[in-house]
């Protein structure tokens, strides 16, 4: 009796939860579905659920705008900015986690506060500086900006991971006379590698999806996928299916990465407050 109640409850939950999940994911699913339709089907006022799938849209997008170029930019900028930011974030988090001082807490809070300014507030100065340094429409320039934007999050996340490393291991290393850099490189990094990897995944996702700087600081050479998609916002002729194909290609890598890094997302973006 209790058992069958439990099963009923589970089935009811399944139905409700799946309904909710499908409703929420519906727009994304619809997007992917549309990418396989013909343009007339895509623009039709009565949505088609069943149709003959075609790959012509994917081919057409690739032909028109050299998708690979934009995708390469996205990869280079997101991975590059993450690696570059790690160079700053790892030493910083290490110091604050293992050699805390009275000012560590306020330093951390200050670092967090640098993230609070909406990026558009820095638009004009950054644009002018980039122009003078010939960094406009360069991957290096966009990479720098993304690195700086993500730095606070990286530092905080690594800080929380480092604090979880058992002190005994590091104590032992200290007894052996290891200096701080050695301690960092030989002991800490291997121990906290999973944390570093998941932090990096989060940073890559944030940089990949970053839409403000990539729209304002790039034109063609360094434009990533976000800008590529924006160019479809008022296009010529029939376009829904092609737009869907381009969009699906743009979001696919991150959907996969995101699926792999769910836990880290929470920890990272809440600055470790929720684990």
């Amino acid at each position: 009796m209790a058992a069958s109640n439990k099963i009923t409850r589970k089935l009811a939950m399944t139905a409700v939860a799946w309904l909710v999940a499908l409703v929420i994911a519906f727009p994304a699913l619809w997007l992917i579905l549309t990418s396989f339709k013909s343009e007339t089907e895509a623009i039709s006022r009565v949505p088609h659920l069943f149709f003959t799938p075609t790959l012509t849209n994917y081919a057409a997008v690739q032909q028109q705008a050299s998708y690979l170029h934009f995708a390469a930019n996205s990869v280079i900028v997101s991975v590059g900015s993450t690696l570059f930011a790690l160079l700053f974030a790892i030493p910083s988090a290490y110091t604050m986690a293992f050699a805390p001082t009275k000012s560590t807490r306020s330093t951390l809070l200050w670092m967090l506060s640098t993230k609070m300014m909406p990026p558009v507030g820095a638009l004009v100065p950054v644009y002018l500086i980039f122009r003078d340094l010939s960094l406009l429409d360069t991957r290096t320039g966009l990479l720098l900006v993304d690195a700086l934007a993500n730095l606070p999050i990286l530092i905080w996340m690594l800080y929380t991971f480092f604090k979880e490393v058992p002190r005994e291991v590091l104590e032992a290393g200290r007894m052996d006379g290891a200096g701080p850099l050695r301690e960092l490189w030989n002991l800490l990094l291997p121990l906290s590698l999973p944390g570093i990897v998941s932090t990096s995944l989060l940073a890559i996702i944030l940089a990949w999806n970053e839409a403000f700087w990539s729209l304002t600081l790039t034109a063609a050479k360094a434009a990533p996928l976000t800008a590529f998609i924006a160019s479809f916002s008022s296009p010529e002729g029939l376009f829904y299916a092609k737009l869907s194909a381009a969009s699906t290609m743009a979001i696919a890598p991150i959907l996969i990465l995101g699926w792999l890094s769910q836990k880290q997302l929470v920890r990272g973006l809440t600055f470790g407050a929720v684990k």
Partner: protein, 434 residues
């Protein structure tokens, strides 16, 4: 140290070219996309030049190219601009002057005069016109015939409203009239200004006082809003040229007043469902024919901050040459050639034979007089815009306000009062143009 190596490594990831790379910024209209596709021929003719295309929506394109030109950013080697930018940027030294750098084979005197004038300032030519346009009334001959209506040789707005009312049939997915509603000085305001012109209105009086609260503007905007609210498709306030083109091609509009360049696409059966039944008539008039049809062109120019101006010069001559016109005709048919820039184009018998809209386009362009755009005297030039540096600002703000009136957020009078205030404000800030 590691940092520099890292940055260097990243920089080397950029593709290596032993050639010059030209960055070309252009608008995402059909003719430009054709140009991009056919530019492979240019790359074959000039193996040392590689073309990098940036194809953007008009609004975004303008932002990028204007900021780059003003800040001498050097991001682009070729920019696509219109008659608002060309004279202003030319006078400011943001563009290379071209008339003394063209090859004789280019035949610069073949350029249609009003268009050439629009691309020049102080006697210097600053941009080579790629295509030019005026405005036309497109209509569905089949729907007209079925309703027993006929389009007069020169329709008036009273005619248009009458036709729209008769042909509006939302139950069958056909709307009486499609017009631009998307906010922007080059979007809804371009069309609306011609309506204001033909009702006898103007943007500014000779003392540069804005005239948006005048009865002529009131009549124009009221008619515009009424047409779209009663007989227009849903979502009008976000429909620009491309969206309306798609609608008309799919048979959803009985009439559409917009750029002459749409004719090529509408007439192309591969793209347009209504190719066999589309009809063409001049843009409608009301009180006066002055300023009823607009004049616009897209021209290719070279920013003075470009580092590859020699190669850029070769490209823009190629893209605006007589040979290019023939090339497009050969590849895509005569109806698809970039129109409105060369006298020679309108003497080609094959073109005139296959494109029934050619003569009307030519006549509309020749009738457009940017130096005398309105019934009453004005201190500015430009038909569907005002050639002053602050016009984009003014036009964009007013465009947004009009869009709000269109969707019913405010009445036409409220909108025009707000528009008047906004225009006065901007002009007070930037100072009256000399």
């Amino acid at each position: 140290m590691r940092l520099r190596r890292l940055l260097l490594g990243l920089a080397l990831l950029a593709p290596l070219h032993a050639q010059t790379t030209l960055t070309i910024a252009t608008v995402n209209n059909g003719d430009m996309i054709v140009m991009q596709r056919l530019s492979k021929q240019f790359e074959q003719l000039h193996p040392d030049i590689h073309l990098d295309w940036i194809i953007l929506e008009e609004k975004i394109l303008r932002e990028k190219t204007t900021t780059d030109a003003a800040m001498h950013g050097g991001q682009y080697d070729v920019v696509t601009i219109g008659p608002l930018e060309a004279p202003i940027w030319g006078r400011r030294g943001w563009l290379l002057s071209l008339e003394d750098k063209l090859s004789p084979a280019y035949d610069v005197n073949d350029l249609i005069q009003p268009v050439r004038d629009g691309a020049s300032a102080n006697g210097h030519l600053y941009a080579l016109p790629f295509y030019a346009e005026s405005s036309l009334t497109y209509y569905r001959k089949d729907l007209f015939a079925a309703a027993g209506l006929s389009m007069p040789a020169q329709p008036t707005y009273a005619d248009i409203e009458h036709f729209a009312a008769r042909l509006n049939d939302p139950a069958h997915d056909v709307y009486g009239i499609c017009l631009r509603g998307k906010p922007g000085w080059g979007e809804n305001m371009a069309y609306l200004t011609t309506v204001a012109n033909t009702f006898g209105g103007r943007w500014f009086d000779p003392a540069w006082t804005p005239q948006l609260d005048s009865p002529q503007w009131h009549d124009a905007v009221t008619l515009y809003a009424r047409l779209l609210q009663k007989y227009g498709p849903p979502g009008s306030s976000s429909n620009g040229f491309n969206e309306n083109l798609t609608l008309f091609e799919n048979g959803r509009c009985a009439m559409w007043i917009d750029a002459t360049v749409a004719a090529g696409s509408l007439y192309n059966a591969a793209q347009s469902k209504v190719a066999a039944t589309v009809g063409f008539a001049p843009a409608p008039i009301a009180v006066t024919p002055r300023g009823a049809q607009w004049l616009w062109f897209w021209a290719l120019a070279i920013p003075s901050s470009s580092k590859h101006s020699a190669a850029a010069l070769q490209f823009i001559q190629w893209a605006t040459s007589k040979e290019y016109v023939q090339f497009v005709a050969h590849e895509n048919g005569w109806a698809a050639i970039p129109p409105g820039t060369r006298e020679s184009t309108y003497k080609l018998p094959e073109y005139l034979a296959t494109a029934p809209f050619a003569q009307l386009t030519y006549r509309s362009i020749m009738a457009a007089d940017p130096l005398h755009p309105t019934l009453q005297p004005v201190p500015y030039s430009g038909i569907q815009f005002v050639v002053i540096p602050s016009f984009p600002t003014i036009g964009n703000q007013v465009g947004q306000i009009i869009a709000a009136a269109l969707v019913g957020n405010m009445t036409v009078d409220e909108a025009l009062t707000k528009a008047q205030a906004a225009t006065t404000r901007v002009l007070a800030r930037t100072g009256k143009p000399q």
